[in-house]
Symmetry: C2
Subunit: 592 residues, 2 copies
């Protein structure tokens, strides 16, 4: 058991000025963390206890999912990254590490970098250490600090420069094995988040810069989450907005018939969808084509959307460019022949079609029968544009942002939207990394084959904050039982009273014996201060000893999550408390 | 229990080319670590198990010593360091961290640095969080990765760029409290190293750049250690050579009487002690003065030693310069008036005495009655030099290197010398850091007072290697019981034999039940390969099942540290093994 006076819990009345969300405020006010610098936090003794508990549950469940724990360096030779497939993108959010010696200017290119994740380390390691199909499958993981050079760290541990992550990497002989590992890890994640005592949903997600075949994110629903999730109660479909699809385009939609010959008309001063929608032109946004130009790996490409749709930029990742960004007007003019506002992709109107890496059209433009688009001539548009007949499309794809209420892609019922905090992510990677590092093994037929990989991440420090975001009230944190820094708080109102002290120690011992971590508040403080602090730090079960109660021969037992308080005679308090502790472990979310 | 085939222990027959010492070779050969880059190692699954065990023992004993665990960031804002007392020295071995973004040249001065230790972080934290004498004493610790930009990493984990350290920082209201905390930590260290099962000695040590009042190092004796320890079996005195004293100068030594007037004589071509010792001059080294010139914080100073003594450079730290180094001949000539080889400190011979920061003489020169020194005139020396009469000494001190056989400073018996690996260090810091950061508290009289600090470090990853260095034989590692990655290895010779497999599982379960971590070697390998690997990875207790033995109804039980093997009938093997495990825990080094 621990005594508050010997421990260190610097609670605060005021929230820090930079804290925008409840969980960030409570992390600091409850003395769980202290800020060292932007996105850099010290885990104070109480906070570290929560981290240790989350870490231990994580370790148990990843082990049960077949994971083998190891620990890789934080500092990486840059060669591991430059030889990998995503250095050019990843470096922008990475730290380099060079000598801090006086007068030593850093070299133009880094010698070392700090790891934001470890595919670039584990794949070469597996290449060296795994040689035969007999060594497969393997799934290596670590629970360690990661580094991201966040330009604008915020929300406490949510977007920090240093954070604690469980990262895992599976290696399989074939695609089927990789799928098995993926599903084992998905189950391990479900067990892990269940045991944390947090509500979560697994959603389909974009693979992004990580690459690979498919991926799920684990989200903790919360108003302040930085992810939009579209989901359907009916079918169970759930996806991150970056990935979400809808059935807005019927699968059996026939191509629209042309409504007439393409016709140019003057639109002086019209450069937005809204302007063209207004009089005198009065073209509904849904009948316009929105023509966007991007630069992908140095070459321009066009994306066509319906005028009333928004681009979901992450979906451009499916086009296979390693880097892409919006083109500038200066880059657009020489290729299309006009400035933004009059752009289009009608065959024959593009000034230099050979300069384009492609024209990519969102499926939904097929809903536009008779459309209007820019003429690639400043101040002019074209009407009667037919998708199949007139547009120079390289291929169709899903590029639009799905909106709440659109039909679920599985069952057609309206999709709902909620916000969530991403706390985990799993990827089936395929051979993107093993190919790059030539991570091969010899199969039973003595053939050399690429290992098939998966990778998996859990935000450990982020999970701590997500729990707080989901489980708090106006007075403070309400810790779920399994991750509480202490499960029982023995609140000793008069620490000088020897009788009260002795009762407190006996009760604490009984609770500890029953399996709880116990904190005794033995500070010389007024009861009001103690109760306020107790509510703030959120220990699930509080036992108060002293004052009028003790004179009447009772102690007061109260759950943090409940309003009512029970009076228990001192004589039976030890066994009562032990029963409560055992019951709480029984009731805590667990895994079959 | 774990199965070898499901776990990952990549043993090697060959040692890596860069491994110079046994423990480094064995770390790699036994599959405990793999090198990522110079001084950067991945802890493989078996190695990480050892690290976790050492970490847990460390945590238990530091907690028992009053430590409160927290966890500070690895990345530090550089301001924390520039405001501290040792940035100019420490930065030379530190990493800076800047953006790795393309085209981003690092700024002249770092924005962030990676922490090699955390006084610069914890002192400002204590300043903010500790306000009253009622909050004191406190002792905060963490077990975390530290970073050193080693120019020449070597010896595996011994001198690495990343290493795992327990670092602890105590804050007290006064010096007496700080001494109490120091002694509690010294005891905690003794319990910790005892429980590891490693031989160690605590020695007096130099405080070096850390500063502070006094300090002890914990050494694991080993031939390959990078520290010389002088010790006395009689009195128990033990000190690092950098700090060691001897009673070579009697406490009651009277000043020698002059033997005549100082006299210059020509010594053309003589520039070393040895040349002056040879004919024709024939001056014994013990009658010569050795005059060395250093630059301390930009100003030259002189150190005088006996001709037959060596400077122990670390001892110059007691002079109070924050940076010092040997002067170049070009820096010496304008001040002393001569080149090295003819230098001296006789009054009136120094060309520009006002340029000197001081003349510091080792006590032992008082043993020289009638000495010879350079004349500060190239090619000339002075004879009949008397210490008290002739030398312009600012003050005396202990600057010489103590040699084996010199009298113990406590009891006068001859000192012995052995080499050791430094695995822990404790410092009584005093107010060096609290003064710099103005870390004050309010005492009971409402007076503002500086906190008195101590700091303490244990090399966790280094300890793992030191254990191996001390406990191995030609075949491999011999793990002490408490830190062994597994305590029991069940060696299953024929994994296809169902009877053998069932016996193995029962024995493994019995050993686990009795408190051992168990590994079952279920690989399809020849017995010779299995036994070689078993010896290499050094699991303390091995049980072999199969072959002839099993047909005879026995299993073979063998301790890694012993030659003999015992045959145990299968029927009693479970209870026998359980007894061995319980006895091993009983016999394992423990703490009262």
């Amino acid at each position: 058991m621990n005594y508050w006076s010997q421990f260190f819990i610097p609670t605060l009345k005021e929230s820090p000025a930079d804290a925008e969300i409840a969980s960030h405020k409570l992390l600091v006010r409850a003395g769980l963390v202290r800020k060292l610098g932007g996105g850099l936090y010290t885990y104070m003794p109480l906070g570290l206890r929560v981290i240790h508990k989350i870490t231990q549950i994580c370790r148990e469940e990843i082990n049960a999912g077949g994971g083998i724990e190891l620990w890789m360096p934080h500092v990486h030779p840059v060669e591991n990254w430059t030889e990998g497939p995503r250095w050019n993108v990843a470096r922008e959010i990475m730290f380099r590490a060079d000598s801090a010696g006086a007068g030593k200017r850093a070299p133009a290119e880094p010698e070392f970098v700090l790891g934001p994740t470890h595919e670039e380390i584990i794949t070469p390691l597996a290449k060296t250490e795994i040689t035969s199909y007999r060594d497969l499958p393997k799934n290596f993981y670590q629970i360690a600090t990661k580094f991201r050079n966040e330009i604008r760290p915020r929300y406490g541990l949510m977007r920090a420069r240093e954070f604690i992550m469980m990262d895992s990497y599976s290696f399989d002989a074939d695609d089927e094995g990789a799928t098995q590992n993926y599903l084992r890890m998905k189950s391990a994640y479900e067990r892990f988040f269940t045991r944390l005592g947090v509500q979560f949903i697994a959603v389909e997600a974009d693979t992004g810069v990580m690459g690979g075949n498919f991926s799920h994110e684990f989200m903790v629903p919360a108003e302040v989450g930085d992810n939009d999730v579209l989901y359907c109660d009916e079918s169970g479909y759930a996806a991150n907005r970056e990935k979400a699809a809808s059935a807005i385009v019927p699968a059996d939609l026939a191509d629209a018939a042309p409504a007439g010959a393409v016709e140019e008309f003057a639109t002086p001063g019209v450069v937005t969808i809204a302007q063209l929608e207004a009089a005198p032109h009065s073209v509904p946004a849904g009948s316009q084509f929105k023509t966007l130009v991007y630069i992908g790996d140095g070459k321009p490409f066009i994306v066509i959307l319906r005028g009333n749709d928004e681009l979901e930029e992450a979906k451009l990742g499916s086009l296979g460019f390693s880097l892409f960004r919006p083109a500038t007007p200066e880059e657009i003019a020489p290729v299309l022949g006009a400035k933004p506002g009059s752009l289009g992709a009608v065959r024959g109107t593009i000034k230099d079609p050979s300069a384009l890496a492609g024209v990519f059209a969102d499926h939904a433009i097929r809903l536009v029968g008779n459309g209007v688009t820019g003429a690639n001539k400043d101040g002019f548009h074209l009407r009667h544009v037919n998708v199949a007949r007139d547009l120079a499309i390289t291929r169709f794809g899903d590029f639009r942002r799905v909106r709440e209420g659109e039909p679920c892609p599985v069952c057609g019922k309206p999709l709902k939207l909620r916000r969530g905090i991403e706390v985990g992510h799993i990827f089936k990677l395929g051979t993107k990394y093993s190919e790059r590092y030539n991570a091969v093994y010899t199969d039973a037929q003595k053939q050399s084959r690429l290992m098939v990989m998966g990778c998996y991440g859990i935000g450990v420090s982020r999970s701590m904050q997500a729990i707080i975001e989901q489980s708090h009230d106006a007075d403070g944190i309400i810790w779920p039982w399994a991750v509480a820094p202490f499960q029982v708080l023995v609140c000793l109102l008069d620490p000088q009273n020897e009788e009260a002290k002795s009762v407190a120690q006996k009760l604490a011992a009984a609770a500890e014996q029953a399996g709880a971590d116990v904190l005794i508040d033995d500070r010389e403080e007024r009861p009001g201060v103690k109760f306020k602090d107790a509510d703030l730090i959120g220990i699930p079960l509080r036992v108060t000893i002293g004052g009028k109660g003790l004179k009447e021969g009772v102690v007061e037992v109260k759950w943090r999550a409940e309003k009512e308080m029970a009076k228990v005679p001192v004589g039976v308090a030890e066994s009562h408390l032990a029963t409560l502790v055992r019951d709480a472990w029984e009731k805590a979310p667990r895994v079959k």
